[in-house]
Amino acid sequence: MNKSEAINVFFCGTGGQGVLTAAEILGQAALLEGFHVKKSEVHGMAQRGGSVESHLRFGKKVFSPLIPKGKADYLVSFYKEEALRLKDYLGPQGVDLTDHLEKAGHLEEGQKYLNTYLLGVLSTYLPIKESNWLKALEAAFFNKNFKENFAVFQKARKEVRR
């Protein structure tokens, strides 16, 4: 990836699915990689089943914390209907990862650790070293099934490696 502008990842889903955790892990990983990172989301209703969006941007320098409509490089949806609703955030060259939801659904661990699975898929597109992903995952799942999460992350990476 060679891009002077920020890389924009749009996460969406519903409360309680792990959307915010996934965005946080990417944020930490991008920070470790040395990027300027901005992550914007709205709290307060997240655990009550409402729509959840997180805008994650990283690059040399990031201005707006929100991704302008039509500028997202990646759409990572945890819930198919939300992806349909928010599709106009994706740019013309943007990559929609919604198809991977179904693949995750076929795996028992993919259902259980959906956010880690989708991050594994996303990681294959981004200029972030595996060691930094590992550190970010470790920080997020410290004492919370880190091994299982990391295995799912690796599995997703292998499945999509092109």
């Binding site: 920070l31 709205v42 409402g50 302008p68």
Partner: protein, 574 residues
Amino acid sequence: MNNKAQRTVFLSGDEALAQGAFEAGLGFAASYPGTPATEILEYLSKFPEVNAQWSVNEKVAYEVALGASIAGARSLYASKHVGLNVAMDPLMTSAYVGVGGGFVVVCADDPGIHSSQNEQDNRLFARIAKIPLLEPSSPREAYQFVKHAFAISEKFDTPVMIRLTTRIAHTKENVLTGLRKEFPRKEFKINIPKYVMVPKNAFQKHIELENKILKLKVYSEKSPFNKIEINDQKTGFITSGVTYLYTREMYPNASFLKLGMTFPFPTALAREFAKKVKNIFVIEELEPYMEEQLLMAGIKAKAKDPSFRVGELRPEDIPKIVKGKLRKHLPSTSRKPVMCPGCPHRSVFSVLKKLRLTVTGDIGCYTLGALPPMGALHTCLCMGGGITLFEGFKKVLGQNVVGVIGDSTFVHSGVTGLINLAYNQTKGLVIILDNSTTAMTGNQPHPGVGITIKGEPTKKLILEDLCRSCGADNVDVVSAYKINELEELVKSRVNADALSVVIVRTPCKLIERTRAQAPALDQTICKKCYLCLGLACPALSKNEAGLIKINGKFCVGCNLCASVCPAKALKKNE
């Protein structure tokens, strides 16, 4: 990382501001939880050097924090925008009184009403109260600005307001943090003309305040927070807060007057900018505050159509404003939040709905009781309004009205309403929805929980004793899950000739994450009345064939649906 003391951390605007305040030697901080400001105090509570507290409400928080400042410590108050309304009384006079150690007033506005009851623009409060206003654009700026804010506060002997918005408070960014520098406590000296606001002293203080504002205006003109960035001289923007970043994103080649201190407004600087740039636009969320300042100074700047005063701005809105377009407010398509599976509020509202009562409500998770298909909460105005609006309703309607309020909200500002009911001989029923936490903002403790912000046990407020002392004739405590008992109690109390309080005490499901087996469903006897669906439980749905389905992943086994099923097709799994 330059040296050991500096560390790059991924911080939200709330956290960065708190970190900056901590490093500035903050000694005291007080707040009441409110989205999007809650995390400021939560972050500060981790430091043993900072005496941090959840106060009973924002007025109390403001006064305690100001007291700590006058006594000599650097002190901070934080709340959401509407929280500052509650603290308006001390805020207004604190500008007269001034400070001891630096005093910073943080308010987090909520443009777009993500989690509030209105979208008021608190920049106007700074002008009304006559205190300087800083507007950071990002977590990094929040971290830097708060340090300067303490210095400004001490230099000019005034509270300093920092205004965040949701998109700053809840944006995370890498912030380079440093070490704490202790602030040597200022000595408190008795000074009656300064601290006792009787008419004679207050009049003198008002004269001084007007002079102070003039000096602060001079400071604002030269402030490092206000800067001109000249690029393309055909197009320029005057902007502040997060909208600076949106505009910078969309117009990278334009010139900017980037304002970080907006009251007193740097008029001369704006005039200088206007001389250098041909077409000027003023970009701001909500109220036309800067627009009016420019208008008063006779500086020509194009502003947004009034339709853009409603709602938060997003980057893609900036070109629309520049083109002079009107804002089209489309209905939101996002999924709305619902009460969690097993939420104790659900059973209360199912009873109130069944009894067809008019319900005056309040602010908390239970406000979700107003949403369809429940529709069983009929007013929500402000903190405490569940009880006081009830009194007004009761005096006019006489019957079949009930007031509901949460436990944290009751302690915040329901108590005075209950005393008023008793004093003014009002009869009827108030229900306290006691889930033993401040749930909607993320489960903060309050006096009724008996735990401090630092997690230490403290004196516990006994709500039933308090209600009796306020003048309630009957005080009953019931479990939300004993729905029949609850229904009988409500029926017997609602129109009785006595003032009654029913405390429905069942902890929030997000604290006690207990689960039981889902009810058994016998499709053969289900009459498809769909009364269970009226409960708006995320675990219940009907499929294409009209059959009820229980989602075992969501269901926590509260058995409420089994309680309301008339055909007994849903059976409790004991």
